[in-house]
């Protein structure tokens, strides 16, 4: 059990070190990357099975007991997030290997990608607010490098915005940590859970709001989302896909974890989160409608979709949180697939500008199918995974009698469908246009890898829809742990 908890963090770091050593040989780096991520995928699936069967698992690294030592905890939410994140990282790595560009031109791609994986895994598994900060920094540091890989002028410009915003959020996180430690004398999450309850309500609410702001910047909720559509589209496709699928969801995970575990149920800022959720959905989708570039449209959709997850959290009921968890699972897979498809479109047509591409459905029918499946899923059309996830959220909202936010979420679904139709009608329908510049040369095996990875993720999204019954039950069990964190606290503090 100990090994299962630490492997997802240790293996990628070890892999990164080996990968730096093998810097001269790209094939060796590829083998290391794929083997490492496959190994973590296997170990995290085992972890999920174990945690689902036996309940929360925790490890005190270094042998120091709970509030003092470094705690790693896996409950159902953490294990689910880990599994889906690692599967996605693996698929995107295969895509990156197939695509000419970022991966083959830069020695640093593989090591940094593995460090990113380690940071993400550490964020999910840590049981300590300060180590959450460290894990965030590991992940962000790797993301700074990946987003500016290539050093083009537009990448440097947008990368600068991204780095500065992330740094400000980190500084604010550090300040919040100072306040938390100053008022409670501990940074262990389970220990904080009991100690924060004793604080005066003013101090407690300000800590809650500070944490919402800190994680809100990372998760790109309204009004803290403006950096995202600016910085994501300029990065190489595999990098954008990982960021879009994963990094904001890590923020959402931290938001869910901190709000459910740290603050007693009577004082949770439900209304605030619901208002923020509704505004995030609306502003994000309106932004998407105004755009003309595929990657930018999709980037604004990330913001809009974050609203749905925050809505599930804001309800603070078992059904709401279960809906949020299911939505995150669906969203990570679907969003990544869409960005990979956008990369394939850019590869084929030489541009992502909708005005300059047309008729892709005739030239590349397979590509059109790969776009259509996740696009309909994102909009929430049955029988795809988006429908199941949205249905769960809407039912939870109706049960909690939050009719306004439910209405907003349904209207936003329609607008999402509208902007997906815009990409479809402009880019895929019509007569094929002559391309501005010839598509980059992709070998047969590279093409097979890129399409294979994208198709695998699209297949995973369909599998989520097919297995939605058991998955919803799993999410519901995870949500029950979140609403009543006593098992989590017992596992860490051991009393």
């Amino acid at each position: 059990m100990n090994a299962l908890l630490s492997l997802p963090i240790l293996l990628p770091l070890l892999g990164a070190a080996l990968s730096i050593g093998a810097g001269r040989s790209r094939p060796a780096q590829r083998v290391i990357g794929v083997v490492t991520l496959t190994a973590i995928a296997v170990s995290s699936v085992m972890l999920l099975v174990r945690v689902d069967r036996d309940g929360v698992a925790s490890v005190q690294s270094g042998g120091w007991s709970a509030p003092v030592g470094i705690t790693l905890v896996a409950d159902r939410l953490a294990a689910i997030m880990l599994v889906i994140a690692v599967l996605m990282l693996l698929a995107v790595l295969l895509y990156a290997i197939g695509q000419p560009g970022a991966e083959s031109n830069h020695v640093g791609f593989h090591p940094v990608y593995l460090v990113l994986s380690a940071g993400v895994a550490a964020t999910f598994l840590t049981g300590d607010l300060f180590n959450l900060f460290v894990a965030f920094e590991v992940m962000l540091m790797a993301s700074y490098v990946l987003i500016t890989l290539g050093g083009r002028a537009d990448q440097v410009r947008s990368g600068m915005t991204y780095v500065v915003i992330s740094l400000l959020a980190s500084t604010l996180f550090l300040i919040t940590l100072g306040f938390v430690y100053g008022s409670t004398g501990t940074v262990n999450l389970a220990d904080l859970s009991s100690k924060i309850a004793d604080l005066p309500s003013g101090v407690r609410s300000s800590l809650a709001v500070l944490l919402i702001v800190v994680f809100g910047i990372k998760a790109a909720i309204f009004p803290l989302f403006f950096w995202l559509p600016d910085s994501y589209p300029t990065a190489p496709t595999p990098v954008t896909a990982v960021f879009a699928g994963l990094l904001t969801k890590v923020g959402v995970y931290a938001l869910i974890r901190s709000q459910t575990l740290l603050f007693p149920s009577a004082t949770r800022p439900g209304t605030l989160l619901l208002v923020v959720a509704a505004l995030t959905m609306v502003i994000g989708v309106l932004g998407a409608i105004a755009q003309n570039d595929i990657k930018r449209i999709l980037s604004f959709h990330i913001v809009s979709q974050i609203g749905y997850m925050v809505m599930g959290l804001g309800l603070f009921t078992v059904a709401g949180l279960a809906g949020a968890v299911l939505y995150i699972i669906h969203h990570i897979v679907v969003k990544t697939t869409l960005f990979l498809v956008a990369g394939l479109v850019e590869q084929r047509a030489g541009t992502g500008q909708l005005a300059r591409i047309a008729g892709l459905a005739r030239v590349e029918p397979l590509l059109a199918l790969l776009f259509l499946l996740p696009a309909l899923s994102l909009a929430g059309i049955p029988p795809f995974s988006g429908f199941v996830a949205k249905l769960a959220l809407v039912e939870a909202g109706l049960e909690a009698e939050q009719y306004v936010v439910v209405g907003v979420s349904l209207a936003v679904s329609l607008l999402t469908l509208f902007s997906m139709t815009k990409i479809w009608a402009n880019g895929f329908w019509g007569l094929p246009q002559t391309v501005d510049r010839p598509a980059e040369e992709v070998g047969r095996s590279g093409r097979a890898l890129m399409f294979g990875a994208t198709a695998a993720l699209a297949g995973l999204s369909i599998a989520i829809a097919v297995a939605s019954g058991p998955l919803y039950e799993l999410s519901e069990r995870a949500a029950r742990d979140l609403v009543d964190p006593s098992a989590y606290i017992r596992s860490v503090l051991g009393s």
Binding site: R157, S158, T161, T171, L177, Q291, A355
Partner: protein, 125 residues
């Protein structure tokens, strides 16, 4: 002492915020550095007033809280690394644009202009 340090942290964060709001990258980098210092001071004084060195003899009751010191040590290292990266990025930005200013998002400006020109929002086709 704690109050004095809280004031110092506030001044550092204030100056940092002012600098970060500027458009020149060199100012932004210095601003981020100042805010980092402010946060670190806040964190180390979150452990209460100072005392005698921990773990090397003396009375347990006089120990200074060692945990915040360990925490800021980590935080300082992280801030240092990130600022080094930021400087490298600023240098690269100066190399490619020969300027020290953060530019606007071109695509964003273009879309904003477009919606001013055509009242239907214009989807570019």
């Amino acid at each position: 002492m704690t109050v004095l340090m809280a004031v110092v942290a506030a001044i550092l964060c204030g100056c940092g915020t002012y600098l970060v709001l500027g458009r020149q990258l060199s100012r932004v980098v210095i601003g981020i550095g100042l805010m980092g210092h402010g946060a670190n001071i806040l964190l180390v004084f979150a452990g209460g007033d100072g005392g005698s060195p921990a773990f090397v003899g003396g009375d347990i009751d006089d120990f200074a809280d060692p945990l915040p010191q360990a925490l800021i040590l980590t935080a300082i290292v992280i801030t240092f690394g990130v600022i080094a990266f930021l400087l490298a990025l600023a240098f690269r930005s100066w190399q490619v644009t020969a300027d020290d200013e953060v530019e606007d998002d071109v695509e964003d400006r273009r879309i904003a202009r477009q919606s001013h020109e055509s009242p239907d929002g214009g989807n570019g086709s």
